[in-house]
């Protein structure tokens, strides 16, 4: 008895695009946003073209919100009256129709984000971009795609962040939760930075086996996206790609956000401090002075010798 079992491998790419208007490159040339979006849409289309079953989703974020700007619920809208226009594309398996649709739905959906920027209600316009929020939504989405896939289908999912922001410290914990979840689910996290070396996101790339690239010039964004981030992780081994970033695993103290080699860790909540303090500012635990601990350590050391 032979069961011939052909496994269909498909790939889901979820792109998180930073739409924060305070990104340095946008403050100088606001029109560059269209350039970045066009490049991202082209990358998405190229990914769909590689295999007919490939899937794409795009999440956007700024300091006020993060939200899907393209996902499967956008993809399956019937479009009456457009058959004449895209008659040629229709002859194929619907994939080409998707390309045009992807672009219009992205353009439509980013309008939500420009409303935030102009709204007087939203006053924290200089706040950090909510990339971690976009990533948590992306992971929920990937989790659903995994549930809904057909039996015998193998779905490889990965994440790509495109951002020109600098920080991320305020969402530190959410980022870490995202990194470890991605690692657990075998989801590779890639980062294409438009402006800064991003220590925190570099850790994420390292933890999940993804690539971090700070592009040298914005004009060439599309080339970098297609050369570096279009190939699937298994193929990348055969390509000459930028070397892995040297990840700095030093800890940032909770009190000053300085990077430290040696520090003090609260045994209750694991907060990190650069100096001894009698009370933990995170969980309000009162500590015994370090002297009592030292004597215990010595006792232990002596015991081990004899």
């Amino acid at each position: 008895m032979h069961l011939i079992f052909t496994e269909v491998e498909t790939s889901l790419l979820v792109i998180a695009v930073d739409l924060h208007s305070r990104q340095r490159y946008l403050r100088e040339h606001p029109s560059q946003l269209m350039h970045v979006l066009d490049s991202v849409v082209t990358l998405a289309n190229m990914h769909l073209m590689l295999k007919t079953k490939n899937k794409v989703a795009i999440v956007g974020c700024n300091a006020a919100r993060s939200d899907f700007i393209f996902c499967d619920t956008d993809a399956i809208q019937p479009q009456p009256g457009q058959s004449g226009q895209s008659g040629l594309a229709r002859q194929s398996d619907g994939q080409y129709e998707l390309f045009a649709h992807l672009e219009t739905s992205v353009k439509q959906n980013i309008k939500k984000f420009s409303v935030d920027e102009n709204s007087s209600f939203f006053d924290d316009k200089d706040g950090e971009s909510l990339i971690a929020g976009a990533l948590t939504m992306a992971l929920c989405y990937i989790n659903r795609m995994n549930r809904e896939k057909a039996t015998g289908e193998k779905l490889n999912s990965r994440l790509l962040i495109v951002t020109g922001c600098s920080g991320g410290a305020s969402q530190h914990m959410a980022y870490m939760n995202v990194f470890f979840t991605a690692q657990k689910l075998n989801i590779v996290l890639d980062v294409c930075s438009l402006d800064y070396e991003l220590g925190l996101l570099q850790q994420g790339c390292d933890i999940t086996g993804g690539l971090f690239l700070k592009i040298p010039q914005l004009q060439g964004l599309l080339q970098y996206l297609l050369w570096v981030f279009l190939p699937e992780p298994p193929i990348r081994k055969k390509l000459v790609l930028p070397p892995p970033a040297k990840v700095d695993y030093r800890a940032a103290c909770f009190c000053h956000r300085n990077l430290i080699d040696i520090g003090f860790v609260c045994s209750i909540c694991l907060s990190i401090f650069c100096k001894f303090s009698p009370i933990c500012t995170t969980c309000n635990t009162v500590f015994k002075p370090p002297g009592s601990l030292l004597s215990k350590k010595k006792k232990k050391a002596n015991k081990n010798v004899c």
Binding site: D124, R144, S267, L270, I272
Partner: protein
Amino acid sequence: MADEDEGNEYRWETGYEKTWEAIKEDDDGMLEASVAEIVQRAKRKRQAERRPNTRLGMMRHLYIILDCSDAMSDQDLKPTRQLCTAKLLEGFIEEYFDQNPISQMGIIVTRNKRAELVCELAGNVHKHVDIVKQFAQGPCSGEPSLQNSLELALSSLRLLPGHASREVLIIMGSLTTCDPHDINVTIQKLKAEGVRCSVIGLAAEVRVCRQLSKETGGMYSVILDDCHFRDLLLQQVEPPPAARTQDSSLVRMGFPHHNRIGNESGDTTSASNNNPMSFCMCHLDVESKVDSSKLGAAGHLCPQCGSKYCELPVECRSCGLTLVSAPHLARSYHHLFPVDNFQELDAKEIKVSDCFGCRRKFVEFDKHAYKCKACFRIFCLDCDIFVHDTLHSCPGCTSTAKIGVST
């Protein structure tokens, strides 16, 4: 009498009781959906029972006491109790270190009325898994000695600093124990030192085991089958509420740099300054076969004395500093800042058309939807489970300014 009011504590007596009666065909005559719903309801129930904001023992120190007596060669677990236990323990060890990254574990085996320390308290997953694999090959003979094993564990645990949690997990196949003295004295000592002892019995209830776990604040259960055994082990992965005797303190720790020698050609100059022929301290004791690949390989350097280690976390052997990486610590934060349980709503009441997390449209089939009490976003059941079991961050809260900043 005490046994009577504890009669309901086993999960198979409550949670899964008569689940077949609850299975109903849905409108299409499908059974699957309702089975899935029962499983998910059970998951949600477990989540709801988890109490938030209890003090957790982040730096756990756990001794596993393994019965290696005659009783372990029984074949009521397949292929034998010993092999089945070894297999399940491997999974447990990996999960334990995954969820308690700066914790330690030691292993004691007991056979022929003796107790033997086969692995001291350490934080290296591979070492522990290797030892458990050896245990699977080893002989099973004689009677176990609970008292000797407990005394051995206690002699090591009592040396730990006060902020460390002290735990023992006993896996017991035998129904008897051969003890040199009155075991109640040992139990009282364990209680006084704040050692939490849990027992998983493979055969039937043993009075002294119940006594031990009750006195020391641990759990006692007897397995039904291998699946239940696995569940019971996984319950031990979650850190227990910290024992009252535990002190809190600030612990000095080092965060080593990663030196990646040989990864990039441009790096060789700095590497040669860095003593390229350095051994790592963790593999020094494997003298029999000196693995040349370990020589000069990449590693983590202790910021205080410069000793090299292949893996973190570890306690520096020359200066005693605990070495960890920042993400190691971050991996445990979700225990301290869990996402609050979502509120269950009737699906008919909700005003949104799709789940905020995964964007699935709510359909006729959905009986319930779930609302985050902080950001008021609505989620589907699958996202509710995913957020609380795996992700540990609410997509709504992290996608909203101000709330997002604090989480």
